[in-house]
Amino acid sequence: MSDPIVHDIVIVGAGLAGSWAAMVAAREGITNIGVLSKVHPLRSHSGAAQGGIAAALNNVRPVEGTGPRGPLEQIPADGEPVDSPDLHMFDTIKGSDWLGDQDKIHVLVNDAVDILYEYEHMGCVFSRTADGRINQRRFGGHSAPRANFAADWTGHVLLHTIHEQCLKHGVNFYSEWYVLELIVEDGITRGVVAMDILTGELHTINAKAVMFATGGYGRAWKITSNATANTGDGVAVAYNAGVPLMDMEFVQFHPTGIYKHGILMSEACRGEGGYLRNGNGERFMENYAPDKMELAPRDLVSRSEQTEIDQGRGAGDDKQGIYLDLTHLGREKILQRLPQVREIAMNFLGVDIIDEPAKIQPTAHYSMGGIPTDVNGQVIRNAEGEPFTGFFAAGECACVSVHGANRLGTNSLLEASVFGRRTGYEMARFIEGGAKLHPITNPDPTKKQRERIERVMDKHNDSQAGRIAPIAEALKWNMTDNCGIFRNEEKLEKGLARIHELKGDFTKARVMDQSRRFNTDVLMALETENLLTFSEVVVAGALARTESRGAHSRTDHQKRDDTDWLKHTLAHKSENGEPVLSYKDVCIDWEKYPPQERKY
C-alpha cells in the first residue's frame, strides 16, 4: 500500500467549472491543489461548445421594426440598453418552466456580465462588433441578443483561456486520471480513489475539500451530441457515496444534431436565422411557436420536430430526419459566423450548408439534473439544505438549479463559469477558515475498487461471461426508446425493467483487454456501470413525475401540474441499491415571478 497523495483541494474535472475553481482557489493563495481529469484538460467537453455564452452586455440590438428575426446592429454610445440581468432572469425562469430556483438564477444572471469581462481580460478572443466590442447573437428562448460568441468555437476559446490561467497560477494537473470513488467516512468527505490510466494503478488521494466538476451524462442515449467522456461518472460516484441526486429526469434534447450521428449543429444556426423544414419543405414551427418560430426554446422545438417525424412528415428515406436550411444566410455570413458547423456538415453529411440544407434530428444534449448544491458549490445532503461537509460541485454535473426543467442555450457555459468561480472562492474560504485534513481510517481504501476491476478482468469463470459493449449499446437504445423526448408510464416501466436486466447482465460480463497499461476496455466497463447506475435514477424520477414540464414530456400526463409537482426530485440510493425519491421545494418569488403558462 502506497501512502495517500495529499492535497488541500482536489478537483475532479478540468472543464470550465473545474478549471475556474482551481484557478480562483490558486489565485486566493491555496497552493496545494490537484485537478484530475480523465482526458487531458484541453480535451474536456467544454471545448466543444459552439454557440455562445450568455450575458446582458448590451452591445447589440435588433434593428427597429424588423421583427424578432430581423438583423442586429451595435448599440451606439448614447443608445438605450435593450437587455438587463432582470430580463435575462425572467427568460431563464420561463425557460426552466418555473422549476429553476429563482434565488440561484438571480446569482447566475448578476455574475454574468462580470465573468464575461473577466474572460475577455484573460485573453479570450471573442468576435467583435464594428466598434470593437464583444459581438452578440440571438439564441432560443432569450428575448434579447445576449449570446456572446467567438465564431462557432466559443467553448474552445473559453476552455483554452481558463486552462492557460490555471498553468499561470501553478495548478497541478493529473491528466488522464480516472476517479472511481468518493471517500466519505462518518459523513465527512475525505478524498477520492483514482486510477492513473497510464499505469492502471489505483491511488488514494486525501484532501480537505473535494470538488466534482465532471460534466454531463448524455452518453446514456444512443443519439447524443456529447463527447465520449460524458458518461456521468461524477453523478454516479457521488450517488454511490450517499449523495442525493436532484432532478435527474430532466434531460435536454437539442433540436439539431447531425442525422444519425448526433454531432451538434449549434443553435447559433437558428440564432443567425436558419429555418427548420419538414420532409415536405414546410417551416413547421409556425404551427407550434408562431411568434418565436425556430427560436423557441429547445424542449419545444425538439418536441415539434419529433411530432412531425412521428406523424410521417420527416425527411429522408426513413423519414426520421428534419432539414436545417441555412442557404438564405449567404456564403459570407456562414463563413464568418458558422465555419465549424459548415465543416461538420461536410464531413458527416457531405453537404455544404451554403448551397444545401443539412439533415438533422433531435439529440440528447444536456443534463439539467445532478448533484444538488447551493450557490457557492457546497453540496447539500437533503431537502433542508444541510451541507455535505467538504464536498463541492459545479458545472453540468451539479444541479444548483438554475435550468430547472429546461436550460436555455448559452446559459450552461455561463453556469459552469459562474458557479465554478464561486466554488473556487468558497473552497479557498473553507481551507483558510481552518478546515482540517480528516485522515482516511479505512486501512485499505482502494480495496473495493480493486475488486471491482479484478472482477471485470477475471479471465476464469468465463463460461457464461458476456461482453460489456453490447450492454452499453442496449442501455443507450433503451434510454432513447423509453426515456426520450416523449415518455409515458408504459415505456418508463419497460425502461426500468430493462435497466434491471442489464445490471444483472453486467455482473456476468468481462472485458477482453488483460493488460494494466492504458486499459480503455476496463475504463469503458467502469463507465458503463456508471451509466446503468444513474440511468435507473433518471427513469425512476421520470416515472414518478406524472406531469409534463420543460424537457420532461409525458404523453399520459400532458399538462404541467403546479399543485403536485412544483418541486425538485431528490434520489437517494437505498440499502438494496434502488433509488428512494423525496422532494424539495422550488424557490419562487411569488410576487415578482409567479408561475405562468409558458407560451412562445
Binding site: A48, L116, Y117, V125, S127, R133, A227, E343, T520
Partner: protein, 266 residues
C-alpha cells in the same frame, strides 16, 4: 451489396511486445461510417484490447490525431469511404492503414506520449499578459484583429504538426510548431503587454531559427492552419526589431522569404 474493408492497425504494448506489429481486421463499409466508428466497432466486437484516444467526435478536442494511410488525420471526422483505396499506389485494395502519430513514444497501440509537446507549450507561457490596469468593460479590438488571430486561436493542440516535424524528431529541445503558433497568437494580440519578451523566447536556436521551413506542419494540420507561416512571421518580427544581426540575419531573411513563397501556395 455490402463491401468489406481490411483495416490494418499498428499494435504495440511496450509491456508485452518486443516491437510494433500490424494486425488486420475486417469490417463492413457503410455510407456514414467514420474511421473512428470503424475503430470503435473493432474494439466493441472484435478486439477489446485495441487502444486509442477520442472524445468530442467532431474535430475540436484534439484527442484523435493519428496516421491514416500515412497521413496525419483526425479520425473522428474522416469518412471511412474517403480513405479506402486512398493509400497510394502500392496499397492493397479495400484497405486502410492506421498507425500512431510518428516520432512520439508509443504508450499503447494508437496512443502516443505527448508530454514533451505539452512541456513546450507551457514553456512559452501561453497565457495572456495584459496591462496592470484593465478597462472597466472589454478591450476594444477590431474584427480584423480578431481574424488575424483566428489562425492561431483555433489550434486544437492535437499534435499532428508537432509529430510531422523532422526538426522535432531530431531535437527534443525545439519548441515545436504548436508552441510557436501559440506565441504568435499572443504576439498578435493587442492586449498582450510583452510581445518583445515573447519574441525573445522564440528568437533562438530552439525556436524560430531552428525551423527549417520543411512545412510538413502545414500539410499535417487537420484544421488547415499554417504554423510555418506564423513561425516565419515571428522570425521576421524579431529580425525587424534588431534582435538578430549579421550572417544569421541574412540567413533568416532567406528562410522567411522561402517560407512565404511556400506558404502562399497554400
Amino acid at each position: 451489396m455490402t463491401q468489406t474493408v481490411t483495416v490494418k492497425i499498428k499494435r504495440y504494448n511496450p509491456d508485452t511486445d518486443k516491437k510494433p506489429y500490424w494486425k488486420d481486421y475486417t469490417i463492413e463499409l457503410t455510407e456514414d461510417k467514420t474511421v473512428l466508428d470503424a475503430l470503435e466497432e473493432i474494439k466493441a466486437n472484435q478486439d477489446g484490447s485495441l487502444t486509442f484516444r477520442r472524445s468530442c467526435r467532431h474535430a475540436i478536442c484534439g484527442s484523435c490525431a493519428m496516421m491514416v494511410n500515412r497521413r496525419n488525420t483526425l479520425v473522428c471526422t474522416t469518412p471511412l469511404k474517403a480513405v479506402v483505396n486512398d493509400g497510394g499506389l502500392f496499397a492493397a485494395k479495400n484497405t486502410v492503414t492506421i498507425e500512431p502519430l510518428p516520432y512520439l513514444p508509443i504508450i499503447k497501440d494508437l496512443v502516443v506520449d505527448r508530454s514533451a509537446f505539452w512541456e513546450q507549450y507551457q514553456a512559452v507561457k501561453p497565457w495572456l499578459m495584459p496591462p496592470d490596469v484593465v478597462p472597466e468593460k472589454e478591450y476594444r479590438m477590431s474584427q480584423e484583429e480578431v481574424e488575424a488571430m483566428e489562425q492561431a486561436e483555433t489550434c486544437i493542440m492535437c499534435g499532428a504538426c508537432y509529430s510531422s516535424c523532422p526538426v522535432v524528431a531530431g531535437n527534443k529541445n525545439y519548441l515545436g510548431p504548436h508552441a510557436m503558433l501559440k506565441t504568435f497568437l499572443r504576439v498578435m494580440d493587442p492586449r498582450d503587454q510583452v510581445p518583445e519578451e515573447r519574441l525573445d523566447m522564440i528568437a533562438n536556436a530552439n525556436g524560430a531559427f531552428r525551423c527549417h521551413q520543411v512545412v510538413n506542419c502545414i500539410d499535417a494540420c487537420p484544421k488547415g492552419l499554417n504554423p510555418a507561416k506564423a513561425i516565419a512571421t515571428l522570425g521576421k518580427m524579431s529580425l525587424r526589431s534588431g534582435r538578430i544581426k549579421g550572417e544569421r540575419a541574412e540567413r533568416m531573411k532567406k528562410l522567411i522569404a522561402d517560407a512565404e513563397a511556400a506558404s502562399s501556395t497554400n
